[in-house]
Structure formats: structure tokens, C-alpha cells
């Protein structure tokens, strides 16, 4: 009996050790993010990236100044997109849940497949359309472009969360005389709220971190997003890495904080995205 217990104990220890080692490896960039953004110039010159040095907010100050505009820009673009994609996406998901027909399934599948295609391929027609609509290099243009990709994503995610609602509950509401919008407002939304939060957070983080679309649609530096603004901080010879890390840290702060506080919703959103066409 004790022989077996020992085997179990050892297994558990090994299990934990392996995960701790791997986890530590995975956390190295986060560790670097923390300590290197807070180094002084002399610290940068003296120590390598992985060794800590004296504490200073100098680099952070400089970076916050430089990035405050891009971060505000990001918020301005990203929040409406996340809100609209989640809410309007839920409406669409509800419709597809309610009205099941061969046509609907086909349309749904086609759009779902389109969301999985690399979005960069829409580069040329996207720019053409945005320019011809006169919204190039503007807030509306970026929000418009984001919606083209993320509204279908929102609908796809919400369709997964809505699919688990028991049909009889919704039918009961119809028998009770409720119109579709009432059913949506009073039954679907309350019952899918965790799913809506997951979708919102997933899209929030994805759009915040999206690099390509703002890169091609925004030309003036005053309107740049946080992710694109990082371009100026890539290592080149002579760059001081404390600013690079501080920039990476500040630019990632909002999604990281959301991830830390509401991580389980993000994870649920990821899982739903993976279930994707599995509806």
C-alpha cells in the first residue's frame, strides 16, 4: 500500500515540477516585460535582459507620454467594435437559431468559413472600398473595417452560446405571447450573459491587438493604435531596450489586465472560437 502511495506521491511531484519548469519558461517574456521596463538607462547598458537592475520609472514616463494618444485611439476604435459585434452578433445568432433552414445553414457556413480565412487577404479590396467611401485614415473607416471581420466572428461565437439554450424555454415564451424581440431581450440576453461577456472580451482583446488592419488603414501617426505604435520600439542597434519593454508593457496593459481579471471569460471565448463551425 505504501509502495503505491509513494508511486503516487512521486508522480504528483514530477507532474508539478514539469509544469512549474514549463510555466517558468512561458513566463520569461512576462518577467522580462516587468523588470526591463523599469530599468534606468545605465541599468540597460549594464545588465542583460534577463537580469534585474535598479528600479526607475523613467522609461515608463517617456513611453506613457508617447503612447497615451495611441492607447486612447485604440480604446476609441475597439470599444464600439466589441459592443456592436457582441450585441448585433447576438441578434444574428438568435435569428439563425430560431429559423433553421437549409438556406440559413448554408449562408451561416459560408460566412463562418470566411471568418477563418486570413483576414489580410482582403487588403486590396478593403482599401479600395474604404478610400471610395471617403473614410480612409479615419475612426469610422477603422471601425467599419473591424466590423467586417469581427461582427461575423461575434455572431459565430454567440451562436455557440445560444445553441445551448433549451428550446422549450424559448417556445414557452412564444406561447406566453412574447414577440421575438421580447424573447430576445427578456430570455435570451439574461440567459446568455456569460457568453456575451466572453464574446465581448474575446473581440476586445483581438481587436486591440490587431496590427494589420490599423497598419494599412491609418496613415497619420496621430491616429495610430497602440499595437502599431510599437513599430517604433523594435530593437535596432543603439536602441535602449528599457523603452522597448516599457512600450510593450504599456501597450499590452489593458488586454493583460482584462485577462487577469476576467480571464475565464476570455478562455470561454477561445473555446467557443475553437468550436467555431461546430456550432
Amino acid at each position: 500500500m505504501t509502495h503505491k502511495n509513494m508511486g503516487h506521491q512521486i508522480r504528483h511531484i514530477v507532474n508539478n515540477v514539469v509544469l512549474i519548469v514549463l510555466g517558468a519558461l512561458w513566463l520569461i517574456p512576462a518577467y522580462a516585460l516587468l523588470i526591463d521596463g523599469l530599468k534606468t538607462t545605465s541599468g540597460v547598458l549594464a545588465t542583460p535582459v534577463l537580469l534585474p537592475a535598479a528600479f526607475s520609472f523613467g522609461a515608463m514616463h517617456i513611453v506613457i507620454d508617447a503612447l497615451s494618444r495611441p492607447i486612447l485611439n485604440s480604446l476609441l476604435y475597439v470599444l464600439p467594435v466589441a459592443v456592436i459585434s457582441t450585441f448585433v452578433g447576438s441578434l444574428a445568432a438568435f435569428y439563425f437559431y430560431k429559423v433553421t433552414s437549409f438556406l440559413n445553414s448554408t449562408i451561416f457556413t459560408i460566412i463562418a468559413i470566411a471568418t477563418f480565412v486570413p483576414y489580410q487577404i482582403t487588403l486590396v479590396p478593403l482599401i479600395k472600398m474604404v478610400v471610395s467611401l471617403g473614410i480612409f485614415n479615419s475612426t469610422y473607416g477603422l471601425i467599419f473595417a473591424f466590423l467586417i471581420f469581427y461582427l461575423p466572428t461575434g455572431a459565430l461565437l454567440m451562436s455557440i452560446f445560444i445553441a445551448v439554450l433549451p428550446r422549450t424555454t424559448l417556445e414557452s415564451a412564444r406561447v406566453d405571447g412574447a414577440s421575438d424581440f421580447t424573447v430576445f431581450r427578456r430570455i435570451v440576453i439574461p440567459l446568455t450573459l456569460p457568453g456575451m461577456i466572453s464574446t465581448f472580451i474575446f473581440i476586445l482583446i483581438e481587436t486591440w491587438n490587431n496590427f494589420f488592419i490599423p497598419l494599412v488603414l491609418i496613415s497619420s501617426s496621430s491616429r495610430r493604435t497602440a499595437a502599431v505604435a510599437l513599430l517604433s520600439y523594435t530593437g535596432g542597434y543603439g536602441t535602449l531596450y528599457n523603452e522597448s519593454f516599457a512600450a510593450a508593457f504599456i501597450a499590452s496593459l489593458i488586454p493583460l489586465v482584462i485577462f487577469i481579471l476576467l480571464g475565464r471569460y476570455f478562455v470561454r471565448g477561445l473555446m467557443a472560437f475553437g468550436s467555431g463551425a461546430k456550432g
Partner: protein, 379 residues
């Protein structure tokens, strides 16, 4: 209060090539203010009938009338679900989990824009009748199955519907709660006078509540009559099976001086049958149907002391191959000596597998069916 009429209702599910006919030319009438039953096995189509009446499905062909108003016809819903004024209790009750019981019942009234005071007095009224006052502010998940069911009934009745639909409403309740629930529903229907339709696979639901019953099997109506009529004179074998457990055995009719006798097997003969419906040909072959509760089993040692009514006729000696105890009775599986027959009978005595017993049959309860069509031969 509303009268319902189904006229040649056919329902086909699925797309070309993979079609499934759930209902085929179903017609019957539900009188206003009556308690009507729709009985059938799972998959027979009874739930589809209910959903069509409610408006959750549209009949592919046929017409549905509410009080002479055409409500659905030929793949079109002329009156949508939301305006049919039907109250429905789903099999799983379908209560809104995020709302309290009070808010659940209030929901249909809020949709109709009743004032808060009107809603309050209505819910108090219903809570009183259905005995759910104490739990009215709890959530469905916090109360028992029986209480949830009463909340569901209250919600269905809240808007004073013209029709109350009950879809296997008691199947999720334990045996004790079922009886209470049935009485309650019966009382409520009677006092409110609302037309009620109960759909179930359990004959006890039908017998305790329905005044008239439509038996559905494989999408068609087998028979429409009162529960007693269905039980005693089922039109055919299908209907007889739907109403409860029944034994079927083939038999040959022989006429002799004392009347008729039925030869079921070499060693199983039932003599002294008083039976006029059989033809003059004394060698008819028929199928006999007899329910376990219309058979009596006695251990051999006891037969000499028995006093039985004239209707009980001996069938011979059988061996018990297994015995199940259920709700005060033993359901015994019997085999004749040559093991050619298998008959299930009810026994009030303890019977163990391997026991030899004497089997008696209540000849008045014997049902005769033709061998080829399975139709009832009237007595």
C-alpha cells in the same frame, strides 16, 4: 372554453428524400370545456399533435379550427402562436430559470401589459388555488419538481387561456406527487371550465383525467372514445396495446355442447366460454387479448379453498419463470408446461420463480381479435 377541431391534419418533417410523416390524416374534435386526452407511445405523433394545436408547428396539410375560426391550414399559420391564447405546460415545465416563480407567472401578463396591481392579484389568486404561495418568490431551481410543475400550471393559466395544453406533465414527478398533481389539475380544470388537452403515454394519466381520448399510433388515430370504452373495447390490437400491458395469444375456437372452448395450446384450454360473436364455424382461429390484471394466479395448494365468481375460468397449470414486485402486486411471467406460451399475470400472493401455479382468467374480460387484421370481434 374553446372548441378545437382537427381536420385531416398531416405533418411531414424533413427535406426531399429524407421525409418523415409524423401525422397522417389525423381528425378529431375536442369539445369546449372538456378534458381531452391524446394517448400514444413515444414517437407515435402525439407531441406533434399538441405542438400543432399550440402553433409551434404548422400542419403540412389539413385544417385546424378554434371555435370555427380557421387557425392553421395547409402549411400556413393563420393565427401565430403568440396570439392563440393557449396556455401550455411543457414536459420539462420550461420555466425561466433566471426569474423567480412570481416573475415566471407574471411573464405572460407583463407581455399583455397588465398593470402591476392586476398582475399581483391574479398571481395571488392562482397561488392560492395551486398551493404555491410560500415558494412564490423563490427561483424554479430552488423548489421541488412538484412545485415547479404547479408554477408551470399557474403560468399557463395566468392569462386565462381558452385552451390548456399539458404535454406529459407528470412524467418527471415521482409516484406520490403524480396523484396529487393529477387531482389538482382535475379540480382546476373543472372549476375554471377551460378546455384542457393532456398528451401522454401513460394510460393512468388518461384514465384519471380525460373524458374523451384519441389514441394515436404511428401518426394515425386508432380510436376515439371514452377511457372506459377504450379499455374494455379497444378497436384493434394496436389500440389495446397502447392502453396498457396486455397478453396476446393465438387460439382456436371449438364449439361443443356446453358452449365454446378456446384451444390455446395442447395443454391450455379454456372451457365454458359464453360467446356469441364467433361464427358458426367451430374451427375459427383468433387472437385473444387479456390483461395481466384480468388473470388470477393461485398456488396449487390453495385452489381447493377458493371461492371465485362465475366469471373466473381455469386455464390450466403454469410455471412461474420470473416474478417482479411492483406497487403491491406481483407481476408473474408464466410459461405453460411445454414452454410454448408466455403470459404475464398479476398475483396478490407471493410467487417465486419455479413455482407451479393455477391460472384463472376472467372470461368477461377476454378480448377477441381477428387473426389477419387484428380488429376487435364484438361480443
Amino acid at each position: 372554453m374553446v372548441k378545437i377541431k382537427l381536420e385531416n391534419i398531416t405533418k411531414i418533417f424533413g427535406k426531399k428524400g429524407k421525409e418523415f410523416k409524423a401525422l397522417d390524416n389525423v381528425s378529431f374534435e375536442i369539445p369546449g370545456s372538456s378534458f381531452y386526452g391524446v394517448l400514444g407511445a413515444s414517437g407515435a405523433g402525439k407531441t406533434t399533435v399538441m405542438r400543432i394545436i399550440a402553433g409551434l408547428e404548422t400542419p403540412t396539410m389539413g385544417k385546424l379550427y378554434f371555435d370555427d375560426e380557421l387557425v392553421a391550414a395547409d402549411n400556413k399559420d393563420l393565427v401565430p402562436v403568440e396570439t392563440r391564447n393557449v396556455g401550455m405546460v411543457f414536459q420539462n415545465w420550461a420555466l425561466y430559470p433566471h426569474l423567480s416563480n412570481y416573475e415566471n407567472i407574471a411573464f405572460p401578463l407583463k407581455v399583455r401589459r397588465w398593470t402591476a396591481e392586476a398582475i399581483n392579484s391574479r398571481i395571488n389568486e392562482l397561488a392560492e388555488i395551486l398551493g404555491i404561495k410560500e415558494i412564490i418568490h423563490k427561483r424554479p431551481g430552488q423548489v421541488s419538481g412538484g412545485q415547479q410543475q404547479r408554477v408551470a400550471v399557474a403560468r399557463a393559466l395566468a392569462k386565462n387561456p381558452a385552451l390548456l395544453l399539458l404535454d406529459e406533465p407528470f412524467s418527471n414527478l415521482d409516484a406520490n406527487s403524480k396523484d396529487d398533481a393529477r387531482s389538482l389539475v382535475r379540480e382546476v380544470q373543472k372549476s375554471l371550465g377551460v378546455t384542457a388537452v393532456i398528451v401522454s403515454h401513460d394510460p393512468s394519466d388518461i384514465f384519471s383525467l380525460a373524458q374523451e381520448v384519441a389514441v394515436i399510433s404511428l401518426g394515425t388515430v386508432g380510436q376515439v372514445s371514452t377511457p372506459e370504452e377504450l379499455y374494455d373495447r379497444p378497436r384493434n390490437i394496436k389500440v389495446a396495446s397502447t392502453l396498457g400491458e396486455i397478453n396476446f395469444v393465438d387460439a382456436q375456437v371449438k364449439k361443443n355442447s356446453g358452449g365454446y372452448s378456446l384451444v390455446i395450446a395442447d395443454d391450455v384450454k379454456v372451457k365454458g366460454i359464453d360467446f356469441k360473436g364467433l361464427g358458426n364455424d367451430s374451427a375459427d382461429r383468433i387472437k385473444i387479448g387479456i390483461r395481466p390484471e384480468d388473470l388470477m394466479v393461485h398456488k396449487e395448494s390453495q385452489t381447493s379453498n377458493l371461492i371465485m365468481g362465475k366469471e373466473w375460468v381455469p386455464m390450466g397449470e403454469f410455471k412461474a419463470s420470473s416474478a417482479n414486485y411492483s406497487q403491491g402486486n406481483f407481476m408473474v411471467a408464466l410459461q405453460d408446461q411445454k414452454a410454448t406460451l408466455k403470459i404475464n399475470a398479476l398475483s396478490r400472493e407471493v410467487v417465486n420463480p419455479g413455482d407451479m401455479v393455477e391460472l384463472f382468467v376472467n372470461q368477461e374480460k377476454l378480448k377477441f381479435f381477428t387473426l389477419d387484421t387484428g380488429e376487435l370481434i364484438p361480443k
